[in-house]
């Protein structure tokens, strides 16, 4: 079934006329996503890949029809305004691609989303992709690559790193293991749909038989996933790899969320916690496909 995105969802691209907006609209359309409209203030009336561009999200909704998802390709300082615009217009799922969105802006977006019953992925996300169905964001880069790399199958993939989302799915696919949906939760500390929320969605998806998770140092997402397993809220097998083992405390390793602060968010802490609740945690990234294969064979 997949989670978050499939070919039936109606998608808007905010910032459609920018460098990324144009390139990834091409990706999304080429992959089969139902992109119905784009918005770039001031560029209403234009077209990108045959998609009509509007000045506002409200107008796009009125003229092109209801919108299920909006994907944002907008410079970081302008993201809050665009995200609030989409939420206020009634969009219930946002995919916020840009990096470096100020954290207080994310908190404001989160607040408004909660009130409106909306959700968002990111910021700083490569996006979401359901193999054979649709893609949101940048994942795969080009439609041909995305089609070649990702195959449909029984595994849900959730990752804190964008490139790793693609590589996990690709290396699994090479071993004959396909995916229901690939989700890059984003590299920031505060993200709309962190690992525990994604894992909950996979729990509800009948096609997802197991979840492969790429975690990192920093934040408490992986520990929260362990809590869900312990509470019986997530019952499917979990195979995980935690990155950043060699990182020192106090230094950020690129991702704003990948920082060990005050002893919390350590590699050891996450691995121990996950193993304690019965998850499979591999020592080496290269072991993920084999470990996943074993898990799938066991539950078959």
């Amino acid at each position: 079934m997949s989670i978050l995105i499939d070919q039936t969802k109606r998608v808007l691209v905010q910032g459609i006329t920018g460098r990324e907006g144009m390139a990834r609209t091409k990706l999304m359309v080429g992959y089969g996503t139902q992109v119905v409209a784009g918005v770039t203030p001031g560029r209403g009336g234009e077209q990108v890949e045959g998609i009509p561009v509007f000045d506002t999200v409200e107008e796009a909704w009125e003229k092109a029809g209801p919108i299920d998802v909006s994907v944002l390709f907008i410079p970081a300082p302008l993201v809050k305004n665009a995200a609030l615009e989409a939420i206020d217009a009634g969009v219930k799922l946002l995919v916020i691609v840009p990096d470096r969105v100020p954290i207080y802006d994310v908190l404001v977006i989160a607040r408004r989303a909660k009130e409106a019953g909306a959700r968002f992925v990111g910021p700083n996300t490569l996006g979401v992709l359901s193999p054979g169905k649709a893609v949101l964001g940048m994942m795969g880069g080009a439609a041909a690559s995305a089609r070649a790399w990702f195959q449909p199958g029984p595994v849900g993939i959730t990752s804190r790193s964008g490139g790793i989302t693609s590589s996990m799915a690709y290396y699994l696919s090479r071993e004959g293991i396909g995916a229901t949906t690939l989700v890059h939760v984003g590299g920031d500390a505060v993200v709309g749909l962190p690992h525990p929320e994604v894992v909950r969605l996979f729990e509800q998806d009948p096609e997802t038989k197991a979840v492969v998770m790429f975690g990192e140092i920093g934040t408490s997402q992986e520990e929260q996933v362990a809590d869900l397993i312990a509470q019986g809220a997530f019952t499917k097998p979990l195979i995980a790899y935690i990155g950043g083992k060699a990182a020192k405390s106090g230094t950020r390793f690129s991702h704003a969320g990948a920082i060990i602060e005050g002893g919390r968010g350590t590699y050891e802490g996450k691995v121990e916690r996950l193993r304690a609740v019965g998850a499979t945690v591999v020592e080496s990234f290269a072991d993920l496909p084999r470990a996943t294969k074993e898990v799938l064979a066991r539950i078959a």
């Binding site: 908190l107 490139g163 790793i164």
Partner: protein, 510 residues
């Protein structure tokens, strides 16, 4: 997260109506003496550095007289504290402390909201205090749209057993602290200890404020030079790298200098990854082979070739590395040939003579590796490009083999680029200049610049020479995406008349 010094935090607290001990910073023992004289009573002399536990390191001293203050300052200034050199000391009045509390505002990433914490017991280790004395610590989340209401703060303080006027005073202070955190976009703003003096007044005796890296650009008044969290002051190269990133939102360029003053043969590698997660993993692979990192770099999120070029130049400026290793997730969504062109330009200019192994797996990897490997025979270094089916481990083994073989190609350095005879120039968004020497272009058969230009902004004029198909203003605004095709492809398959000059402020002058 960008940290402020204690004295900066205290200046902000004053702006937000929170009392701080009277005093100011001194940069010399004489200044410290003068300030102590002004204050006219015993003072505290406190080293200004981004570390905790200053007291144990001799970074906090009492001084009864101005002379003692000068002595204390003399002992601290120039001291190296966990990698930081103390350049300033804060000289402030000693407080007659009756009680100590803790007040702090942090971002709770799980709740997606700010969290205000208050403890009726101050001192280090708020987490430990909370665990040992749960009835003395209270927390409350704040609705970002309405802020911390005064009554919420009062309720919070009451939960720790404090009543009466003190409760109201503390509540007002917590509201001010929250306003400070919200206004400056602080990741964390803490007052510890929050002191009540014997006359009943409240003072922020020490404070720690860290500002969200991604918000620094809209707070120029805070004077934060570089928005990164380091456990030591930024190096000159880190400042240069930050300047490149700060002005250019296309993709990410993250740079940490991991070593300095190293020598050739010590096993230091210029590490240049793509994507935080993949880079960290590839870094692990390199370390497992006994190599050391000179740099940790992440250029990802589809940066233009110009950004990767600048990143590579900064890596090369770090010192005499034994090899250049690039690896990210291996299955990058961004078109990898942009990075390839960035590397090519940087390595050609450096006439690089240490082995290069770059794992350029992902979108358009075939084209990317083809471009990268064109370097073979043009520079002394052997260059190998790898794709998504090659593991980081394998790539490190290749680098290891090339370094150990020591084999270099016999390629003389190129003669310096001559002055263009018929220059056609236009400027780019990051202050670069694209120059086509039309005298050379006239001899070119392929004119690959036009076909390879990624944003497709070039055309041939009546003379069949490459010119902009758009206005120079549009190019400068960003329509020229600095893809470097008109230099790199021109060099490989054209007459070599194209050149993109990309300045790196701070680097070119060294």
């Amino acid at each position: 997260m960008a940290r402020l010094y204690e004295y900066q935090g205290k200046a902000l607290l004053q702006q937000f109506k929170v009392a701080v001990p009277r005093g100011r910073v001194a940069r010399s023992p004489e200044e410290a003496r003068a300030i102590a004289e002004e204050i006219g009573k015993p003072v505290m002399v406190k080293a200004q550095a981004w570390v905790t536990g200053r007291a144990q390191m001799g970074g906090i001293k009492r001084a009864t007289t101005p002379d003692e203050a000068a002595e204390a300052a003399r002992g601290m200034l120039g001291l190296k504290v966990k990698g930081f050199t103390v350049e300033q000391v804060l000289v402030e009045e000693q407080l007659d402390i009756a009680s100590e509390y803790y007040a702090g505002v942090i971002i709770d990433d799980q709740a997606q909201a700010p969290l205000v914490m208050f403890s009726s017991v101050g001192g280090t280790g708020i987490e430990e205090i909370a665990a040992a004395h749960p009835d003395k610590v209270a927390r409350t989340h704040v609705d970002i749209e309405t802020g911390l209401q005064e009554y919420q703060a009062r309720n919070l303080v009451r939960r720790t057993g404090i009543g009466g006027k003190l409760q109201s005073d503390l509540a007002a202070l917590l509201v001010s602290l929250y306003d400070l955190a919200r206004t400056t976009e602080a990741r964390a703003a803490e007052i510890n200890p929050l002191v009540q003096t014997t006359d009943g007044k409240l003072y922020a005796a020490d404070c720690r404020v860290t500002v969200d890296d991604y918000a620094v650009f809209r707070h120029p008044d805070l004077g934060i030079e570089i928005a990164r969290e380091y456990d030591r002051p930024p190096t000159p190269l880190e400042k240069i790298a930050y300047a490149v990133e700060a002005k250019d939102y296309r993709g990410t360029f993250y740079f940490i200098q991991m070593a300095s003053d190293f020598k050739k043969g010590e096993g230091y590698i210029g590490f240049h990854g793509a994507g935080g997660g993949g880079s960290m993993m590839s870094m692990d692979a390199l370390l497992r082979h006994g190599y050391k990192l000179a740099t940790f770099v992440d250029t990802s999120g589809n940066p233009p070739a110009s950004k990767v070029y600048r990143a590579a130049r900064i890596v090369l400026a770090t010192g005499p590395i034994d090899g250049y290793f690039g690896s990210g997730s291996g299955v990058a969504s961004q078109e990898q040939f942009h990075s390839a062109r960035g590397f090519v330009k940087a390595f050609l200019e450096a006439h690089l003579d240490v082995p290069v192994v770059i794992r350029l797996g992902g979108n358009a990897e075939d084209k990317a590796v083809e471009i990268l490997e064109q370097l073979n025979g043009r520079i002394p270094a052997p260059v190998e490009g790898y794709k998504k089916d090659d593991s980081p481990e394998f790539c490190v083994q290749r680098l290891d083999a090339l370094i150990k073989s020591g084999e270099l190609r016999d390629v003389p350095p190129p003669s310096p680029r001559p002055e263009p005879q018929r220059p056609y120039r236009f400027e780019t968004v990051t202050g670069g200049t694209v120059t086509y020497d039309h005298a050379v272009c006239a001899t070119c058969e392929s004119k690959v610049c036009v076909s390879e230009c990624v944003p497709k902004i070039l055309t041939l004029n009546e003379e069949g020479l490459p010119v902009l198909a758009i206005t120079p203003e549009e190019a400068k605004k960003g329509r020229c995406s600095e893809c470097l095709a008109c230099e790199v492809e021109c060099l490989f398959r054209g007459a070599g008349g194209g050149y993109v000059h990309l300045p790196i402020p701070g680097l070119d002058e060294t």
